[in-house]
């Protein structure tokens, strides 16, 4: 069930092509932002939909509705010593887990 927006995303929405970094937020109990992406720089591949964040939806909390993005990473950036230059990985992140990448 979609909830009405109670607080907009901090910062402007990202666009396709923007470089973003996955924030290394403190976590406990529940998140759907994978450990292997934290602190890694990727590129916005697509904007998908706006919805509740998992940390709140999983507890039936009538909370934040945020933009979700498909973010694309180079496998070489995700895994130490990854030997294939061209391989990539995509996954989906809600806005709160992303910040603009400095480089």
């Amino acid at each position: 069930m979609k909830k009405s927006n109670t607080s907009p995303e901090k910062g402007t929405l990202f666009k396709v092509g923007d470089k973003v970094c996955v924030r290394d937020m403190p976590y406990m109990f529940y998140t759907r932002s994978q450990l292997y992406t934290r602190g890694v720089v990727g590129t916005i591949a697509a904007l998908t939909y706006k919805d509740l964040i998992p940390e709140e939806e999983a507890f039936n909390f009538d909370g934040r509705v945020e933009q979700y993005y498909i973010v694309r990473f180079r496998q070489k950036d995700l895994w130490p010593g990854y030997p294939f230059d061209n391989d990539t990985l995509q996954t989906e992140c809600p806005h709160r887990w992303l910040e603009p990448a400095t480089n």
Partner: protein
């Protein structure tokens, strides 16, 4: 262990009759207990359960195969499949809103087709659980749900693909799609050589479930995904098991 008998189960109007098997396992007991309590307390009706079961037994990978085969033969449909996945599904008879009218609780309504090219190969996993495009592909295979596949595919994709018999040249970009939120994905493989002038039916036959997850490539003559099968003690007796056999 005590033996089971089929007598004593008279109020069966809302659940299946006692099975003719030796032992009833703890999880079978728990499942019956939870379902009966939920119905007794009005959380859902037996009819709800029956209707959803009917939908669950109707889904399977054949629909996905049809989508790919149609996209391979009809450029306008291929464009639709890549820009509006839900609409493309509707055209081949799959409505993601079913059976509730607003989608299933687990599968949502955000479906995307990932197009392979000669230099880009997609493979899908859900590292956190086992999210899968059920309305189009049916139930996920057991191996897709394992912690093993979920641990390894994102980090050692080419090794895992090699175990499936799929080895790709290093120049090809392997792109893993970790479907960790509400989007659901399916791979549209490259149409293989040797299929010129094939009908949609012939093409659909070689687009197996493993091809649409991305762990296999379609090719002429390859019409089944072959894996060892763990048999059930008390299997579901219905046609939706065909995909596993």
């Amino acid at each position: 262990m005590s033996h089971t008998h089929t007598h004593g189960n008279k109020d069966d109007s809302h659940h299946k009759a006692a099975p003719m098997v030796e032992e009833v396992t703890d999880y079978e007991v728990l499942e019956i207990a939870v379902r009966e309590l939920a119905i007794e307390h009005g959380l859902f009706t037996a009819e709800d359960h029956r209707r959803f079961t009917e939908w669950a037994e109707s889904i399977g990978p054949a629909a996905g195969s049809r989508l790919v085969a149609k996209a391979w033969t009809d450029p306008a449909y291929k464009t639709l499949a890549l820009t509006d996945g839900l609409k493309a599904c509707k055209e081949i008879g799959v409505d993601w809103a079913e059976p509730t009218g607003v989608g299933t609780p687990s599968d949502y309504m955000e479906f995307h087709v990932l197009e392979d090219t000669p230099t880009l190969h997609h493979v899908i996993v859900c590292t956190l659980c086992s999210c899968y495009p059920r309305p189009l592909l049916g139930m996920s295979p057991e191996w897709y749900r394992t912690t093993n596949y979920r641990r390894r595919l994102v980090r050692w994709p080419r090794q895992v693909l090699a175990e499936f018999g799929l080895i790709l040249p290093p120049e090809v970009e392997v792109r893993i799609e970790d479907s960790n939120q509400k989007c659901r994905f399916m791979v549209m493989p490259v149409r293989p050589a040797g299929t010129e002038n094939w009908t949609e039916e012939q093409l659909a036959e070689i687009v197996t479930r493993d091809c649409m997850i991305g762990v296999a490539l379609p090719k002429p003559g390859r019409t089944a995904d072959v894996h060892p099968i763990q048999k059930a003690r008390r299997p579901v007796k219905s046609s939706h098991q065909e995909a596993a056999q």
